[in-house]
Symmetry: C2
Subunit: 380 residues, 2 copies
Amino acid sequence: MNSHPFFTLDHTDQATKARAGTIITDHGVIPTPMFMPVGTQGAVKAIEQRTLSELDAAIILGNTYHLYLRPGTETLKTMGGLHRFASWTRPILTDSGGFQVFSLRELRKMSEIGVEFRSHIDGSRHLFTPENVVDTQRAIGSDIFMVLDECTPYPSTYTEARTSMELTVRWAERSALRHRDAPFLYGHRQFQFAIGQGSTYHDLRRDCMQRLVDMDVDGYAIGGLSVGEPADDMYAITETSTAVMPVHKPRYLMGVGTPENILTAIGLGVDLFDCVMPTRNARNGTIYTTHGRVNIKNARYKLVDEPIDDGLDSYISRNYSLAYLRHLFNAGEILGLMLATAQNLALYLWLTRTARTHILAGTYKEWAAATAQRLMQHRP
Amino acid sequence: MNSHPFFTLDHTDQATKARAGTIITDHGVIPTPMFMPVGTQGAVKAIEQRTLSELDAAIILGNTYHLYLRPGTETLKTMGGLHRFASWTRPILTDSGGFQVFSLRELRKMSEIGVEFRSHIDGSRHLFTPENVVDTQRAIGSDIFMVLDECTPYPSTYTEARTSMELTVRWAERSALRHRDAPFLYGHRQFQFAIGQGSTYHDLRRDCMQRLVDMDVDGYAIGGLSVGEPADDMYAITETSTAVMPVHKPRYLMGVGTPENILTAIGLGVDLFDCVMPTRNARNGTIYTTHGRVNIKNARYKLVDEPIDDGLDSYISRNYSLAYLRHLFNAGEILGLMLATAQNLALYLWLTRTARTHILAGTYKEWAAATAQRLMQHRP
């Protein structure tokens, strides 16, 4: 192992709260801000691992709920963990599965001990507790893993949000205890992040985050956002949360969002992001480019013999035309999903990489405003 | 342009009729025997162009019927032809679309002038003639293109097969005339192959091929096989056909086949092959490896922590395990289709590349027999 600190704060912007930092794991370095592509089931949809590396993805996500069900904890242990299994040598972060389990409205039962649920695949019964979710993430071998939390639905009453938040705090304590006791399985270190909840109530959010901060875990996440609340609430809660979060630990805004959301949240002091939007929207034909959004199925692109995005260095962005990509979608070719996915991830990874450059140069605020406007428009 | 001959015969095997040759086009060199991956609609399904290059695919196929309907002749002309449109810089061969049109049983009407058909996409009416199919392939800009033929169904009576074959010969004459008159559109040369028909009747096959040989086109194909006839008939007709084909022109067996079919046909003097089998079977979970066939959905591969195929140099074959590939299929991940496709094409391209090495070394017969046996078995 090494003696580098897990997180180093390299620079804080003067005009905003944006930060440039460096996370060091045993699988490699993650410069922040950083977008993390979502590989729920041990694969990012429609893209090869080596293409992710080529696009400078420093870390990808996995999901404990999905990996626990398929391929399963025993398979992952036999295979030496998810890194070896998926041939991905860079860092992995796993979500606890809390969000997925709580999405199974009809199929779950909450209690103090944990959450019982039925598999969405075969209906079999399972129990997630804060402790066994740590154990499962030991088997997965992620470099950074999330505690089990209760993702409070939106909207919730104040009483519901407080009750739920209190449970999340008690579960975080149990998770931290388990993390101290359970051995690492594969010779590399694993870092634990706690998740703040409290719905859209600022005092609950502050209270929750402060109690998590007192536990002194490796990093802190803002959960329960991007679940239907207005964007202004999301930004306000993010600002309230980062105000309480320690300066010298990484900050992760879960499940967010559009390029504009990410640029705004970076300005509020967030370091890490994940979202299915670039990959899912790619498969639906919405392409993000440095010139704006493209609905690639639109007939207007039939004869547009220009690169998908000449504003990026990516091989795929520069090597295929919008007209060809439109043809692939029109003809139902899998290659269309592949090229669109690579483009959208190239854009998102360019976004956080370039944000870091501007934070370090002191030009973040102006750049972010102009870039958000440019990326969210329809491509001229 | 250059003054190299289109085809050079480098070596003929003593123990079999296998040949090693070299085709030179303006987009590059094709060592033969060669398997040509099928990219019907301007894309090989579930694989990127640069991965095809990496696997040593020297030439890919396109299909005139499909490309004529989508993206259409005018789009292809505007885009400067299929090479530019699809960002594929190596040679392309296009089938005439005869096979596809004749598969539209209910939607087509034959006449001396050509074949009327309705689009499988929108029901619109179209007419293919030997002449306009040459013109469409001018717009596509393929390096090698096929004449319009009538693909005789199996089984056919002798009279039906003879009538159909006679039409194919008359159409080949019209195609050759058009090829002489119509200009190339993109500054590179296009070579024309005629297609022998005659069902399973050896005298019809000989007569047809001899009359095509007398037309002195650039290469000769055997059509109307792999349409349901027994393998022994396919081999016998192939042998009858290659006996009439000129030695110093390339020979193409259309739509064939399994690794065993290809090895046998190479031994009968065939140079070029295409088949959807490696790509289509990949998407269905049948994986070809140098150790035999694998049904990757089978639970026996759940914990097999071995490379997909350690007998190949391919990055994907060596870098991912059978257990991971099974998980991807089990979980419905697009990456599974991508890795399986790359493996099967790596195997097919290894097959014809290695066949060439053994032909040149004089060891083809023994190697082909052992290899066919090994590849067609279930992986131990």
